[in-house]
């Protein structure tokens, strides 16, 4: 009935609800295998930049004119996080165009904005769909959306709901009230662990360049260039790089609250200290002392740098703080990496 030439129905759409403003797609509140594959793709980074749903109005359950309107971003993971928590609830979902970026990042960077909410309410005729004048937004959208601006722009009152969509059913049951816990950002072990694959995926390209550079530099020696040394010493240095990545982009996120220090570059050093010592112990028999020193410095520098990069994935680092620690951490990392390079190059001549 709702077939249109050239269009394919989204797999998460169950059917359509007839409303005064036309048919509205009703979406599933259970996860499908296809959703799971999509989540895997987005979480590993393969399709992270283009994992979207079309902006517009959707429905869950059997909503009517008095049902709540829940607003979210058009990143598919955000959309899923919302709809999959709504089984047994009748509501309208207003998905606004954030260019496929999640709520928190889109609000911070201006695409989940007061204007976008106001325009979406007009464009998708929400005022004709419902009798009330309330929009429920995720609390983390408050960075980009001014409640008073939305009221001025379209007459709707913004209610900031809980931080996590998992708390939405309780929030709605309690008469749209949040407990303190629902309003506070968290960063649990599971929330940190799920970020690791993307961090690693983003390193694949720089790592590829690094392989070439490392092989080239490792082959330089008394005989100008030795392919055998390039492979042997290059292999060791690449292994050390992988160890640095493990320390900085895997161990640091996992151990974050327990690592000493406030600054992430120092936390990275702490996480990489045992890693560097382990790497040193394993490779020491095959290397001269200057090379051993180079290896330890290199693992420390890469781990510290990657730990510093993880600031961008946390919900508690202020930009002023990140800039403060970068002015200290970055020079230290550059000195360590430079020294590592010089010692590594000096190795064959010792």
């Amino acid at each position: 009935m709702h077939e249109r030439a050239g269009y394919v129905l989204c797999p998460f759409v169950l059917d359509f609800i007839e409303t005064p403003i036309g048919p509205i797609p009703r979406v599933a509140t259970t996860i499908s295998l296809r959703d799971r594959w999509g989540t895997l793709g987005a979480r590993t980074g393969v399709i992270r930049r283009n994992y979207k749903v079309s902006p517009g109005c959707y429905a869950v359950g059997s909503p009517g004119p008095q049902s709540p309107v829940l607003v979210t971003a058009n990143y598919k993971l955000s959309f899923d996080a919302l709809r999959l928590r709504l089984s047994g609830i009748d509501a309208w979902l207003l998905v606004i165009d954030t260019r496929g970026i999640n709520v928190w990042c889109a609000a911070g960077k201006g695409s989940f904005s007061t204007d976008e909410v106001v325009q979406s309410v007009h464009r998708y005729r929400i005022g004709e769909l419902v009798g009330h004048r309330e929009l429920i937004l995720p609390q983390l959208a408050a960075t980009g959306v001014a409640a008073q601006g939305v009221r001025k722009g379209c007459g709707f009152t913004v209610l900031f709901g809980p931080v996590r969509s998992a708390d939405l059913p309780a929030y709605l049951r309690q008469g749209k009230r949040c407990s303190e816990a629902m309003r506070e950002a968290t960063f649990t072990l599971a929330e940190r662990a799920v970020l690791i694959p993307v961090e690693l995926f983003l390193l694949a390209k720089p790592l590829l360049y690094l392989v070439g550079i490392v092989l080239l530099l490792s082959g330089i020696g008394p005989s100008v260039f030795s392919p055998a040394a390039a492979l042997h010493r290059g292999g060791i240095l690449l292994t050390a790089t992988v160890l640095g990545i493990v320390g900085g982009a895997v161990l640091t996120p996992l151990l974050l609250p327990w690592l000493p220090g406030r600054q992430f570059w120092m936390k990275g050093l702490a996480a990489n200290l045992p890693v560097a010592l382990g790497g040193w112990a394993l490779s020491a028999p095959r290397l001269v002392p200057v090379e051993q020193m180079a290896l330890v410095l290199w693992i420390a520098a890469t781990g510290s740098y990657l730990a510093m990069n993880f600031t961008g994935s946390t919900p508690f680092t202020s930009p002023s703080g990140v800039e403060y620690e970068m002015r200290r951490g970055l020079p230290a990392q550059m000195v360590a990496a430079g020294l590592a390079l010089a010692l590594w190059l000096a190795g064959p001549f010792c």
Partner: protein, 95 residues
Amino acid sequence: MHGYRYIDGVATLQVDRPRCIGCGNCVEVCPHRIFSLASGQLEVKDADLCMECGACACNCPVQVITVSPGVGCAVAILSAWVNRLLGRKALSGCC
């Protein structure tokens, strides 16, 4: 946010308390719960927990809260530095 503290004394959060009308918007939207209202008077309980997201300032109807908002991300700051150095404007390489 239990178990986490970032660097002390750097957040740019400022509140002009005499002009506050006590509406409570900031108390509600802060994801680190740093504000409280006691008999209509706004208190900043712990300014060092501020991550400068700007939600409070954005939702303050009388603009008494100022904070220099931004993304606390090393990659974003680094690319901004590089862009400034090269005289470019575009921000790239981030979420």
